[in-house]
């Protein structure tokens, strides 16, 4: 038991003095956070305040202007990029409309592979978990927007990643599904995962830290 706790507690996602630029404008400057196992950070703020940009920087999809993101855990070799320990659920679902849901999920399961320390569940179980067990045979394009979003979420379950980066995870979802998602995210946290989420609706996560993004409109003018 103690061993498990120690293993869990050695995971750490650290961001130091991040700032990012879009075109000429600095979107945010000097953001630092330090998340350990079971901790979550919820980003809030108005549209355009840089929530998505920050998430993309952490996911390694944008180069930060300054600062760095570091991932450490017991099992990871040094030099592992933080992005490799992350699941990223962006605005788009990253599923092919022409393929069936089962094909989509099976592809991502096989392509992602599991990071040390956990194991993904099968596509059928994942679909069951998000409440859509019966429609695995349908092409993804036939599903409604809400069902597509749920299946995109099921993608996070088929392969294990300790860190979940969620950008507006509950967009297009009904109230029931929102509740179910909160349950899944809390389960991930309880299992020692880390969650980084941007949202407008309160997600109802247990003991989540909150980071209010304010945006830096105007910094660009000052530089001139």
């Amino acid at each position: 038991m103690i061993k498990i706790l120690m293993k869990v507690s050695s995971m750490r996602l650290l961001a130091e003095n991040l700032s990012a630029r879009r075109g000429e404008d600095l979107i945010f400057t000097d953001i630092s956070f330090d998340l350990g196992a079971g901790e979550s950070l919820v980003l809030t703020g108005r549209n355009g305040s840089g929530k998505s940009t920050l998430l993309r920087v952490v996911a390694g999809l944008l180069h930060p202007e300054t600062g760095r993101v570091v991932w450490t855990s017991e099992s990871s070799e040094s030099g592992m990029r933080a992005a490799e320990a992350c699941h990223y659920l962006g605005h788009r679902n990253a599923m092919k409309a022409e393929l069936t849901v089962a094909e989509n999920l099976a592809f991502w399961k096989s392509f992602f592979g599991d990071v040390d320390g956990g194991k993904g569940i099968s596509p059928a179980e994942a679909a069951e978990t998000v409440g859509l067990g019966g429609i695995l045979h349908l092409p993804f394009g036939y599903l409604s927007a809400g069902q597509q979003r749920r299946m995109a979420f099921a993608k996070l379950l088929v392969a294990y990643r300790p860190v979940w980066i969620l950008d507006e995870p509950t967009a297009a979802l009904d109230v029931n599904a929102e509740g179910a998602f909160t349950g899944l995210i809390n389960a991930h946290l309880a299992a020692g995962g880390i969650v980084l989420a941007a949202t407008h609706q309160p997600l109802g996560l247990e003991n989540a830290r909150e980071l209010q993004m304010t945006g830096f409109a105007g910094v660009g003018e000052e530089r001139w």
Binding site: L62, E84, A106
Partner: protein, 219 residues
């Protein structure tokens, strides 16, 4: 990686995939030439290998811009970029899948179109062989263009124009090897081996360049 190969192959044959479109375009281009040139059989068989090669080149360029754009549009590209697998390898596998789905059908269709052009068996065989060796180079070159233009809406024509200068040597050596097989004095092997070398060269350089472009396309 096998999963990625299989997925891309499935996508290329399902609705909206480019496999059939490329072959149809190839047939259209080559099939109208005899009507334009007229029923001079000697002339047709003389220009045959060149026309088949030009048709294959244009059809190969046709579907290339979608190589990464579809991935970007549905957000898959982000996830492909984040993984542990080297991005170069991911790009290489995507190129292979694209060639199997779009390039190989062109090679298979080329003997039929050779008949349209009144080419004899040797010329048809030589053209098919040079296409088999040369079209992968077109895919690898095109991957760089597709990666550079990935964020541009309607980047299709731009991709074709970007990669055309690099594709010209493939065309030159492909056609000259095909001619060398039928015309006596010219040796077949030198242009053919240069074609092989071009393909192998771009098999290394293309995925590297495309991976670099994708990494820096960040948006």
């Amino acid at each position: 990686m096998t999963a990625l190969l299989l997925r891309d192959l499935k996508l290329s044959v399902r609705a909206g995939g480019g496999a059939l479109i490329g072959v149809l375009f190839f047939m259209t281009v080559v099939a109208v030439i005899p009507f334009g040139v007229g029923p001079d059989l000697n002339l047709l068989s003389r220009i045959g290998p060149a026309i088949v090669w030009i048709g294959a080149l244009l059809s190969a360029l046709l579907g290339l811009d979608r190589l990464f754009q579809t991935e970007r549009e549905d957000g898959s590209l982000d996830l492909l970029l984040m993984q542990e697998h080297p991005l170069v390898l991911t790009v290489l596998v995507k190129c292979l899948a694209h060639w199997l789905g779009n390039g190989l059908p062109l090679v298979i269709a080329s003997p039929l179109l050779g008949l349209f052009m009144n080419m004899d068996e040797v010329a048809i065989g030589a053209t098919m062989l040079t296409l088999l060796v040369g079209t992968p180079a077109l895919t690898f070159i095109g991957a760089v263009g597709a990666a550079v233009a990935v964020a541009l809406p309607r980047g299709g024509l731009l991709v074709s124009i970007l990669v055309l200068p690099l594709a010209i040597p493939v065309l030159i050596f492909g056609v000259s090897a095909s001619y060398a097989a039928v015309e006596d004095p010219a040796p077949f092997m030198p242009p053919f081996l240069i074609l092989v070398a071009i393909t192998m060269f771009f098999a290394v350089l293309g995925p590297l360049g495309a991976a670099l472009a994708l990494r820096n396309a960040g948006d």
